[in-house]
Assembly symmetry: C2
């Protein structure tokens, strides 16, 4: 594994600089020399997508993914149908923005067992697959930390994501490995290898796990301020054949309150030193 | 699996009724017909242990365990030595109270990889084992939810706890299965079976996982108010040969603020209906 010497593989998720709108984020990222951008869906809702896409092209920013689809499971059949409609709509959004993939928080319903939620996720993805293929948008399964098993995702380990992705045997299904969700897993190296070997390793998300963590959703750390061995995990991901962007995704009430220009500089510094 | 019809297998952890001191808890539990008690270590610190023990015998309360030992790992060798001393002291406390086991939150140090912390846990348990055997106190490994991996326990699945317990081949090492920590695990049934088969299934802790969960430490739910299928898991535990107490352990800022007599009545009601 090589040390990181430039920003050519750095992608920023727009949620990381949440106080900025999409235009500000894009301009600031490009000015800082960042080459990739992932777009939080809420930030482009009801906006002129063609215009945003032109701006991103002009700024030489590659759209890495649209975030997020998913949330397929429900005890209500009607809600499951609506979720599929919503995912098809999000695939269209991704296509319009030139995003080659849509990252999915797959969902879970606390009113039913996790294996039922997983079966409904498989059904939901299957129902969206033709639409995704036609749009040229990969459906990317992101396994979520087990602390989100009740209502955010019934896919809580990379092994489960691998099982799910492999069941489709499709170039339009992939996996996003986010260190925040999987760092604790003692099967991680082996499952990353498996993921790459089967052609499913589509995205790599980075941040850090702070100790203590003050909030279950919005207290992620900047790379280097927590306990995740990012260099080791990046090594595993690259050994498994991944050569895409290293994508910074930090949900943080603390950082969102700070000056975002200073935060952006900190991110770049942390990226060079700790990834 | 049989439905629960009486309180003969109900144990309450004193942390559940934290606002009560040990004497109040014991008297209230016994008056309610509860037969087992687990004692939070902080509540007997610097008290007359012989007197507490006599009171528990008089009240016909069986001491199920002392909680807690552990916290073995540290990047500092000196702190690891102190942790071993502290565990030996806690074993003496358990012995003085007539507790046949000490439940361990095994620990982790965010400054080092999880596998190093696990190796230090194994060393710590090994260093306490003779002392535990002499005292007749079982050292009980409790796997903790992965959200506690950074600083509370590097043992985050029942599979890891089984590996650890089996490595000792000792009647003085066992495992506590707490539904809060393991409910999300898709290998749970199989690992409970393995745990029982190897004679390591020593304790069964119950509560519920609320959705949403507001606090990572102190927002556990009363049985039935969350998404854990308690009847199913109790079935697995009993099928694996466990016939000990069903131990209620609820850390909850919300319930601790309420009238504890009313809360105790709710626990008994929830135990009869949802376990």
């Amino acid at each position: 594994m090589n040390a990181i010497t430039d920003l050519s593989k750095l992608c920023l998720h727009t949620i990381t600089t949440k106080p900025w709108d999409i235009t500000t984020s894009a301009k600031k990222f490009a000015a800082a020399g960042i080459k990739g951008i992932t777009i939080w869906r809420d930030e482009v809702q009801n906006k002129d997508l063609a215009q945003i896409r032109r701006m991103l092209v002009d700024l030489d920013l590659q759209v890495v993914s649209l975030c997020r689809g998913g949330f397929y499971p429900s005890t209500s059949a009607e809600k499951r149908r609506l979720a599929i409609d919503d995912n098809r709509y999000a695939i269209d959004l991704a296509h319009a923005l030139g995003a080659p993939m849509m990252v999915m928080v797959c969902g879970a319903d606390p009113g039913q067992p996790l294996n039922i939620s997983r079966a409904q996720i498989a059904e939901g993805i299957a129902a969206c697959l033709d639409h995704a293929a036609a749009a040229g948008v990969k459906l990317t399964i992101e396994p979520l930390h087990p602390m989100y098993a009740a209502e955010r995702s019934a896919i809580n380990t990379l092994a489960q994501a691998n099982d799910m992705a492999e069941s489709f045997k499709s170039p339009w299904v992939g996996i996003a490995v986010d260190v925040y969700h999987v760092w604790w897993d003692d099967n991680l190296e082996e499952e990353i290898k498996r993921c790459g070997h089967n052609g499913n390793l589509s995205a790599f998300h980075i941040c850090d796990w702070k100790s203590p963590t003050l909030d279950m959703l919005n207290d992620r750390g900047l790379m280097g301020e927590g306990c995740i061995d990012l260099k080791k995990i990046r090594g595993w991901v690259e050994a498994a054949g991944f050569n895409g962007f290293n994508e910074v995704e930090i949900f943080s009430d603390i950082y969102w309150k700070q000056d975002q220009d200073i935060f952006l500089a900190k991110i770049i510094e942390a990226y060079k030193n700790h990834v």
